[in-house]
């Protein structure tokens, strides 16, 4: 059980908190201590909107340990509207509704439960925008 690691990741997992570079304005996710654009270390916390589009997507049938109960599932690179591209699972979606460029929004889901007696990890996934 990685209590400390999951605790450190909670703000990015639950609220999509990344970093904003106060020198060049770059938005980074997850949080960094140095800007990957200009090298500045003057970064502040920045909460991302959770809106983005599917950049690429693949279907996972052979899941890593702990994710077996969720197969088959979609793993995608999602381009967030603020710029960063992040790797995330898609949820509540069928194959025919998954396409590159599709608009998606962040939701919080159970990502991993460590057995029946370990902690439950909640984190972001993405789902198609709810039809109006």
């Amino acid at each position: 059980m990685h209590f400390a690691r999951s605790w450190r990741q909670q703000s990015s997992n639950l609220r999509l908190v990344g970093s904003r570079c106060t020198s060049c304005g770059a938005i980074l996710f997850p949080e960094r201590i140095r800007c990957s654009g200009c090298g500045s270390t003057e970064l502040e916390d920045h909460r991302l909107s959770g809106r983005g589009t599917i950049f690429t997507v693949t279907t996972v049938f052979e899941a890593p340990r702990g994710f077996e109960s969720q197969v088959p599932y979609f793993a995608a690179l999602v381009e967030l509207e603020e710029g960063p591209i992040i790797c995330a699972m898609l949820t509540d979606v069928d194959r025919e509704d998954v396409s590159v460029g599709k608009k998606v929004t962040m939701v919080t889901r159970r990502i991993l439960a460590h057995g029946d007696d370990g902690p439950i990890i909640y984190a972001y996934k993405f789902t198609p925008e709810l039809a109006g």
């Binding site: 909670q10 639950l14 609220r15 909460r47 109960s69 969720q70 949820t91 509540d92 069928d94 939701v107 919080t108 889901r109 159970r110 990502i111 439950i120 909640y122 996934k125 709810l130 039809a131 109006g132």
Partner: protein, 348 residues
């Protein structure tokens, strides 16, 4: 009961999982009596959903509508009887997800189908006494039933969240609230047991009907109102018949109640049930409308509320997500997928 300063709902939101199972499919597996399809469904949480994720989405939708700084919330209180953790609150996770921590009281309310409205009364007290500007309350459940039990036809999943704040900022202002509580055991689950036990027919007259009638009549007497004064009335809905029957007994016209009985579409969402109905009523209400909300929880009693809708509702609810969208977003699953999603298949 009413607070010394005016309090009301400044934002609300609901959430219903996407999957549905037809009650006829449950019946096919356990009785095979040829129950007609398409009559009633229940919402089934996906494999990555639980009460916490349902509460988080309802809370986010409420926050989007209220459009307030989450750091101004002094309480985040969710009621549920299907907590993912036996020890460790759900509300701390919800509060973290909406950015309300650390200067908020985050706690869980529990038991039967009415902890959400218990939290609502407490939130009203907290805001009404000026201890807090804003407080969030809600109810969410992924209702449990023993496979094959009559409950399995209706145990649904969903939830709703409400943010209480000063009356002048509200989309619906509280007139009064009452509770009618007795020690009546008609439904329970002993510690360590996986599924609840219920008193079959005993859950009707001495339980549901007596408690809701009593809380609502006390409330109407307190504010000097009759059933004709309410535009809409929302009752706890363990099935689709009970709320219509109690409404008729109390003198409410059927067409003011039926649109907010969601049981045939999503099942009994327990702590979420009356609250989702209330959210749906707010979705369609007009300024000046009065809405009655009456919850019921087995062995827990009934809480009743009277709210008056304000002019603000028209603009403010545009920032939210109408419950109707979740009612329309459905994907049907058979009993096998339902059993998998609900963790009823053990692989080790």
């Amino acid at each position: 009961m009413k607070p010394t300063r005016a309090v009301g709902v400044i934002g609300y939101g609901g959430y219903i999982p996407r999957y549905r199972i037809d009650a006829a499919e449950v019946d096919r597996v356990w009785r095979g009596s040829g129950k007609k399809e398409g009559q009633s469904f229940k919402a089934v949480p996906g494999p990555d959903e639980d009460t916490t994720t349902i509460a988080i989405q309802a809370a986010r939708n409420a926050m989007d509508m209220a459009s307030i700084d989450p750091n101004e919330l002094r309480a985040v209180w969710f009621g549920t009887e299907s907590k993912p953790y036996a020890v460790k609150p759900t509300s701390t996770i919800v509060a973290d997800a909406i950015g309300a921590l650390p200067h908020a009281n985050a706690a869980d309310w529990e038991f039967a189908c009415k902890p959400g409205t218990e939290a609502m009364q407490a939130a009203i007290g907290m805001v009404g006494s000026d201890m807090a500007r804003y407080a969030m309350c809600g109810g969410a459940d992924t209702a449990q039933a023993k496979p094959g039990d009559v409950l399995e036809y209706t145990t649904g999943a969903g939830g709703a969240a409400f943010i209480l704040g000063p009356g002048q900022e509200s989309v619906a202002v509280l007139q009064a609230s009452t509770s009618y509580v007795t020690n009546t055991t008609d439904f329970f689950r002993r510690e360590g047991q996986e599924y609840p036990n219920h008193g079959q027919r005993f859950t009707g007259e001495p339980a549901y009907f007596h408690h809701i009638r009593s809380s609502v009549m006390t409330l109407m007497e307190e504010i000097g109102a009759g059933p004709g004064d309410f535009t809409f009335a929302v009752f706890h809905q363990p099935n689709s018949q009970f709320p219509l029957r109690v409404a008729a007994e109390l003198g409410f016209a059927r067409n003011r109640v039926e649109p907010f009985v969601l049981t045939n579409l999503v099942g009994n969402t327990y702590s979420g049930a009356a609250m989702l109905g209330f959210a749906k009523a707010l979705d369609v209400a007009s300024p000046g409308d009065r809405i009655l909300l009456a919850s019921y929880g087995s062995g827990a009693g009934s809480d009743a509320f009277s709210y008056e809708v304000t002019d603000k509702i028209v603009e403010v609810r545009k920032r939210g997500v109408p419950i109707e969208r979740y009612l329309k977003r459905t994907k049907s699953v058979d009993y096998a997928m339902y059993a998998r999603y609900r963790g009823k298949l053990r692989r080790n």
